[in-house]
Amino acid sequence: MRKEEFLKRLEQHLVMDEPEKEEVLRYYSEYIEEAGPDNEEKVIEEIGSPEEVGTRLSAEFREEGKGNDGTWAVDFDEMIRDFSASVEKFAKKAWETAGNAVNAFGDRLGEEWKKSEPARSDAASDWNRTMQEVKKTTEKVLQGTKETAKKGMDEARKAFASLRDILEDATVPYEFAEFDLPPFHRVKVFVKNCPVVLHPSVDGKYGADVRLYLRREDEVSVTVEDDTLIVHSTASSGIGRMTGSATGFGGQAAEIYLPEGVYEAVEITTTNARIDAAGLRLADAEVKLKTGNAKIKLVNCRFGGSLQAETGNAAIEVEEVTTPAAVMYTVNAPIHVTGGSIDALNAETSNGAVNVTDCAVASKLTAETANGPVRLKMDGPAENYRVTADTSNSAVFVDGRRMGPHYEAPGRVPVRANTGNARIELSFLRPEPDEVQTEE
């Protein structure tokens, strides 16, 4: 049995208030997910029959509910839960949220207390006593949580200030700016926390403009040797990120100027910072771009060899790019490919969409994700493409028509689309009505 079926059957056997049910389903959903997708069936078997679990939990809930006004108990829990959840988050936000929540909670508590007045005067005296104790304990909890939140924020402020002081004392700004370098046919950039921008050179000259914050002079080297531009920095310079600027890096950047021409390889590696390139014309070049937690964006480029773009937790955007082969990989973010011409394209992510629109694909297209839609708008008619499309919890749509979770069509260029919890949308070029007529 899979998770969805287990949860569906469990829900049907839960006899309790809606919020309580949500909690139960959430607990079990997370529990099953923890085991990992490979163990899903096994862990569900271990848990046992959803009917038994549901019946058992419903019985427990009934027992707990005795001697309580059910509605009041549930709202109370929810309020405490909502309030506690906000307090646990980041210090400043928690303080603001906590402040508001304390006021709202106090008002609500007063209201509920007033509302229960008629019931209270009719009920036994120990019900009164219970409510008094509840109110007392709640106030104690609220006070304690308020104090913790404020302390947390003060500590965070102090720590941030001292860290910043240390880093400011310890770093030195560095700049290498040279716009008439000896020509090179390979580029190797290795930096950290530093955005990299590749520019087309307008005057046919080779250039590099590298600005960083260093702890030691020897942390960076920019040279041209062996026909290669090497920009190598081991400085991680968190200070760049903290001082903040338009790029969020206090002006740290590595900008390379490449005239149109033949290059063998361009390899750019950075971390936590963007890689941007626009208007490049690099014949023969195998281009490898790697970063993390930041976007890769390429516009109007031609790479004669191939393209590899890898990042995580951020999007890859490729517009009007022409290259024989491209591999794009990210997680938790979308991949957008628009226009251009990529003979063999492989785009893979998870928790994000894959959108390929009007890109001329001549030999192969593979688009993979897990929790996101795949939208392929092909620039040729349907007959050109041999399609295999698979989704597990949704459907494949072809030119707007809903198919099923699995769709195949014969053709020449293999197109493979795969996702889990979302739809696949395929659309193809329709022949113009005029053209059809003139052929007759």
């Binding site: 997370e30 046992g48 108990a73 988050k89 909890v141 938790n332």
Partner: protein, 107 residues
Amino acid sequence: MAFQIGSALLDACVLAVVERRDVYGYELTAQMRNVIDVSESTLYPVLRRLQKEEYVLTYDSPINGRNRRYYTITAAGRQQLENYRADWESYRSGIDSLMKGETTENA
């Protein structure tokens, strides 16, 4: 194993585990299972109960694109755990004496 674990003792055990460090459901079940044969369906009502009594709070921590709900002990929870520990100590030593066949005239 012949002996059933009562609900108060279960509450105490879960509180003790959460006191060591914040845990999420799956982790708690695994840790408890090292010692006693309980199911997650036994543990869920315990966690619910501890939450209602404000001995634990929950917070969410996203991981790998999904969510994990952690349980953390409160000041009131620590206090209650101390009470449980005292109760357990006297209960345990009482049972120990009995089982060892020691005299319980003044127990």
